[in-house]
Symmetry: none
Subunit: 159 residues, 2 copies
Amino acid sequence: MASLTGIIEKHIEELLERANEESVFLSRKDLAERFGCVPSQINYVIRSRFTPERGYIVESQRGGHGYIRVIRLCMDMPEARANHIEELVGDSVNEQDIRRILANLQRRKLITARERLLIEVAVRFQEEIGRDLLDLSPYKRDSLHAELLKRLLRSLVLG
Amino acid sequence: MASLTGIIEKHIEELLERANEESVFLSRKDLAERFGCVPSQINYVIRSRFTPERGYIVESQRGGHGYIRVIRLCMDMPEARANHIEELVGDSVNEQDIRRILANLQRRKLITARERLLIEVAVRFQEEIGRDLLDLSPYKRDSLHAELLKRLLRSLVLG
DNA sequence: TTATTATTGACGAATATTGACCTTAAGCTT
DNA sequence: AAGCTTAAGGTCAATATTCGTCAATAATAA
């Protein structure tokens, strides 16, 4: 993995580590100069590597004093939990399973009541759309549930 | 964040804090002198930072004894917050607007970073499904985003 | 070979700063 | 009371500085 993208990705991760902060402010122009690439390469790295699904939030501002800010959440979650989630959820879950899983996670204090609420609302909305608007089969809907649930939980649990 | 605008913004926020009042009266001329800038810079700070979207309203008066008054809205009633959400989101929002709204809500401590992350992931998933799997039009997708976002935020904010 | 991922560059959009010119209100002066 | 003066604040356009998007192309993986 000696791709430019990989190198820049590592660099940003290192900045996050080294600063021991929750976030870093980057200058797109400076980064591009430093790594001898076009500025839009930085956008590519951000878009492909520092996604919400991987536990990052990115803010940016154009114009004078512009910046790209990368925020990293959940810095210290054991990897074991990630695998656990895959197992737990599998490829298909119905809403009852989901509620059971969420109740469990909340009881173990891995998610808050509000986070659980968000996840339930998101899943229910998806169910509603899939059923009423798109006429998807029950199996298809449960597959989508599984995928959504995994993404949501991974974003919280992985760093 | 060493921009003039940022510095002035912080100063005004601090005045609000320190006064522990709901509002502060500013003198545009004095502020401009203090920070060594043209008076219209103050207008820019007000227009771009102390917006209703961020929970402020501003009154002003010209002429002798003129002033700029910055009022911080406190939205402690669930009712008020809910209405605010409706307005903010409307019937259609693109992902860029969503990110702005979420950043503002987090700044105002109405949601946490993790909650923001969950919402971003849910919206992105919906976008992905709508685009790649269901081939929905951009407008339809933005409508669905608005509906999803409103439901998610209402679930949090009504509590 | 085909599909995915990475790289590049042209063009566009947003933000910050400044200054010239406009509008409004209060207090005098007549 | 009307008009003038002075002291605010408002608007708008020009400019500079960043970042973002999109599509074409190249490289790599399946």
